[in-house]
Symmetry: C2
Subunit: 190 residues, 2 copies
DNA sequence: AGGCTGACTTTGTGATCACAAATAACACAT
DNA sequence: ATGTGTTATTTGTGATCACAAAGTCAGCCT
């Protein structure tokens, strides 16, 4: 999810098992789970790698984000008090620092933390779980294409989100989210 | 997904393994996958059962369906030729027969087949996978509450969907889908 | 130099086992 | 009859193993 792994990276049961000092069995269960969620892909011969997404798949996943995340934000809006907004602003500050260091993994991590912090207020666990599934699928690809992201865009969109939250402006919030989610991913294709 | 299992039903690794004549290991992998998708729930002690959904969860899952499925139908619309519409009409005929027999599992199966047949044309595999995840979570609950479903509603909504498909009416199609998806599930809460 | 065949290694699969935790069953006392 | 303590059984967990398929690599031939 945070882009620690690049697309196409192979993972072996014994290798990961040794890395975390456990046997193959629990690793298998975890891998199978991640394959089921689309976070890892399983070749016909059983080999497991991080997925290499086609442009069409990237666009589709972006469309799903654009569908789910404005809804999550909208549901969080009535419950978004000042304490939450302040926490989001703090996370935004961390994002600025991470961008300054051009730390791709840190950027992905804090950016997702911003979104998750907001969505947790939506009281919609199933919807949030679907969104996280999508993030998981995009992680390696976003890391690989981090250099192409217009990193100046993201903080601006986040500020628009915060402004809409403060104003209680639901349509504005939905638009800000859609544009935050798709502006980042528009850069990724090709 | 088809409601063969009722909510709260317990499943054991050894039991399912014996049923399908295999050892615990592959059963464990399958169960873990289904737990990850929300199709089964894992108690704190590791026991596995089909989920018993709260009213809030049912509403949330219905909201997700209402978000995803109109989008899938809309994407299928430009590619929906007469052959597809005829297949959907045939499935609708089977649904009528199944309702006459009050066959809950058959109803769920054919109803989902109707939706999946349409959505396959959307060329959006990730979005369809998310929709199927939701269906999987709802299966046992829909079966349990099948008696409460207004079974006369569903064929009418399906006819509205088919009419919108024939007319190439995108807004009408989206509305028909939203109402098909939510009218069924509105009955489920309490 | 390039491609092919062979042997060797890596890897996932399914099965089985020991173990501990949790559940179920049961007997007993009140 | 009901609650309680103990015993027996069921159950998931993690580890290990044999096996077959897949992948890798070296050496040889053309």
């Amino acid at each position: 999810m945070h882009g620690e792994l690049l697309p196409g990276q192979a993972l072996t049961l014994r290798g990961v098992g040794k890395e975390y000092d456990m046997s193959m069995t629990p690793v298998r269960e975890a891998m199978r789970r991640l394959v089921a969620e689309g976070a890892l892909s399983l070749s016909s011969s059983g080999r497991i790698t991080t997925p290499e997404l086609s442009n069409e798949r990237i666009e589709e996943l972006a469309a799903i984000r654009a569908l789910l995340e404005p809804e999550l934000a909208s549901r969080a809006l009535p419950r978004a008090h000042m304490a939450l907004i302040e926490r989001l602003e703090a996370i935004n500050g961390q994002i600025d620092q991470v961008i300054a260091r051009s730390d791709a993994v840190g950027y992905l991590k804090h950016n997702l933390e911003f979104h998750r912090t907001l969505y947790l207020r939506a009281q919609a666990p199933a919807m949030l779980a679907l969104a996280e599934t999508v993030w998981l699928q995009l992680g390696p690809t976003m890391r690989k294409l981090y250099g192409r992201l217009r990193r100046t865009e993201s903080p601006r969109n986040h500020r628009l989100i915060l402004a809409a939250l403060k104003a209680g402006d639901d349509p504005g919030l939905r638009i800000a989210l859609r544009s935050d989610v798709t502006s980042g991913l528009r850069m990724l294709k090709q």
